[in-house]
């Protein structure tokens, strides 16, 4: 397939693999975190680790919007569907995330809740137009990439005078999450999580640009390479990170020059800031409360804010005690370190959110990589 196969070419990959192997120092380890679940998925699906030297390890970060959604937020959406009779629209895997009381949005649907999976927020607008006698809430999740479309939808709803549409906003921000990881005791003290650099998500940077990463590259002395989602992008980014580490540099580099600029998409940024403002704090699954890490709808658009419209109150709910999603999302543990991985917690019966989305670290390892655990135990 044109414009895709070029970025999955096995021969080019071999060339990059050799370049990485030639440049890594054998007297040290390289631990890089791919922040984004899209990268986690690409790495697992194409078998990227097989092309890396044994001393280069990829740590899966918290950049899966489904995975970082705390139970309390799902509970709010379920409450809207079951108790308020609202049509709740949301993206894909969100419907499978376990919530309180053994429920999930999918199970709430089986109990009679009107919950619809949509591919785009415009579908939710359409549902609102088609059902004028029902209230429709778009359960908005995602990082900076999905935020501008939500902003457009809210503006459009206002322009159309669509009275039965509102948004339960759970949009979160990438840089503050990376900062939170770098500030976490595991990383700062004694380096329990040895992090030598980050691969940043290119689609986020098409919106916010590469500049927001400059601060912590410099402040925390961690190199960042912004990379696309094809496996060759990831390989190239790893090579760039290895070079930075070897040369003692900690810079923001851009692998994805085909679409990312330092400034990003200023029009989209203006759009987002017209509709949204920073939340003082937001709970992330795995990271806990992270200050200024998420968005809420501005007062000027309060009519479209489901939290205000329905007087929703957020209650934090603790994760299942045995679930290690938190530590896995922070890169402290690997999926196989979790006692319930693959026993109680499977993609069919997810206990934690990392097992829900195909971009989650646990689901990716379960689906694509668990045969390696057997090979490792056999040797």
């Amino acid at each position: 397939m044109k414009y895709v196969d070029e970025y999955r070419d096995g021969e080019v990959a071999q060339g990059l693999a050799q370049a990485i192997a030639a440049e890594v120092r054998t007297d040290r380890r390289y631990n890089f975190m791919e922040f984004c679940g899209g990268h986690t998925h690409a790495i697992s699906r194409y078998g990227v680790p097989d092309l890396l030297p044994p001393n280069v390890r990829m740590i899966h970060g918290p950049g899966c919007p489904v995975c970082v959604l705390p139970i309390g937020r799902i509970d709010l959406a379920i409450q809207l569907a079951l108790e308020r009779g609202v049509i709740v629209c949301t993206y894909a895997d969100t419907v499978r995330v376990p919530a309180s009381g053994g429920l999930s949005l999918m199970k709430a649907k089986a109990r009679g809740g009107d919950i619809r999976m949509v591919y785009a927020v415009t579908d939710a607008l359409m549902i609102a137009r088609d059902n004028p006698d029902k209230e429709v809430v778009f359960f908005a999740i995602g990082f900076e990439t999905t935020t501008p479309p939500t902003a457009v939808a809210i503006q459009q709803a206002r322009a159309e005078g669509l009275k039965n549409f509102s948004v339960l906003c759970c949009h979160v921000l990438t840089p503050s999450a990376i900062m939170n990881i770098l500030e976490s005791p595991e990383v700062r003290e004694l380096g329990t999580v040895p992090l030598d650099g980050f691969i940043g998500p290119a689609h986020v940077s098409t919106v916010i640009g590469s500049r927001p990463y400059a601060y912590f590259a410099e402040e925390y002395r961690k190199p960042v390479v912004i990379a696309g989602f094809e496996p060759l992008d990831v390989m190239q980014a790893i090579l760039m990170l290895v070079r930075q580490v070897n040369e003692g540099r900690a810079e923001v580099e851009n692998e994805f020059t085909r679409a990312v600029t330092p400034e990003g998409n200023e029009k989209a940024q203006r759009l987002v800031s017209d509709v949204f403002e920073l939340r003082r704090s937001f709970e992330w699954r795995g990271l806990g409360e992270v200050p200024y890490s998420a968005l809420r709808i501005r007062d000027t658009y309060a009519d479209f804010d489901a939290e205000r419209r329905y007087g929703l109150e957020y209650w934090p709910v603790r994760d299942n005690k045995a679930c290690e999603c938190g530590a896995i999302l922070r890169g402290v543990k690997q999926p196989t370190d979790c006692k319930i991985f693959g026993t109680v917690c499977t993609p069919e019966t997810p206990m934690g959110s990392c097992m829900v989305s195909s971009e989650g670290a646990c689901a990716a390892h379960y689906t694509y990589g668990r045969y390696k655990d057997y090979e490792a135990s056999a040797t």
Partner: protein, 350 residues
Amino acid sequence: MTNHVKKGYARPLDITHGRVDMSHGGGGRAMVQLITDLFARHLSNEYLAQGNDGTCLPLGKGRLVLSTDSHVVSPLFFPGGDIGGLSVHGTVNDVAVMGATPLYLTAGFILEEGFPLADLARIVESMAKAANDAGVKLVAGDTKVVEQGKGDGVFITTTGVGFLPDGVHLSGDLARPGDLLLVSGSVGDHGVAIMSKRENLSFDAPILSDTAALHGLTAAMMASGATIKVMRDPTRGGLAATLNEIAHQSGVGIHLEEAAIPVKPEVEAACELLGLDPLNIANEGKLIAVCAAEDADRLLAVMRAHPLGRDAAVIGRVLEDANAFVQMKTRFGGRRMVDWLSGEQLPRIC
């Protein structure tokens, strides 16, 4: 003299404008009329015409093969086919991949009140054509009607009967290390055709369902003299599910070569857009076969000589693995597992 005797004393069924109503399932005159004027008109044969509670059939040679399949696809009419043809192909293929010759079908219809008779007629005509092409006869049927909102237009359950010659034995537990794995053509066409219709995706080359009866291809393969161990049609769950089933049944591992698996560029493009994996997507006119390595070339040649096997390819091999994992060497050069699908990728595809 004017003849006052009306023909049949019945108003003909208004197939152009009429709709299914509850009386069509009520056991009264309306139901009989629907059966005779619509179903029997298109599907009748000497067995259906017996008109009894059960049909009396002559026994064929060998052993009996039975398979049943319910069809609930949405939309009912999709690019490349419809639920009528699909309900024949699905069951014919399940019988054919046993190595048997499919001969008879039964069909159960669940109709939703309000469903246009014109659409029902199109579906029944499509079934009749598919059955005729596949050389099977519809020998028994049933019709029920449910209230509006309690069905989705039409659901069709078909049961297929075929005969398997003595001495032929194909089974999912017969794959052995060293065997090779073949597929009859491109994977993912059916599921993506349905999805593109549902999501209103349009491509320069429209993606058509591959729905087809495979009895001719399987007959040619069985006649090739190759030692075929397993045949399956990878429907729901796609190639991934079918291969995992075989790996588990046989207690072996399977290694695939991603580069060898045929996928149409437009299907691959749609999968990219929708975030789907072609290996998890349903096919309705493809089969996979496991055969002894030394027979693979011969079998491949026979498959490629058949119109439904033109793009056949050897895509992997069977090896020892106590964990029965299906693994794949990616085009990128890495390895990964090809696992069962979790949850559902596309609802109501067949």
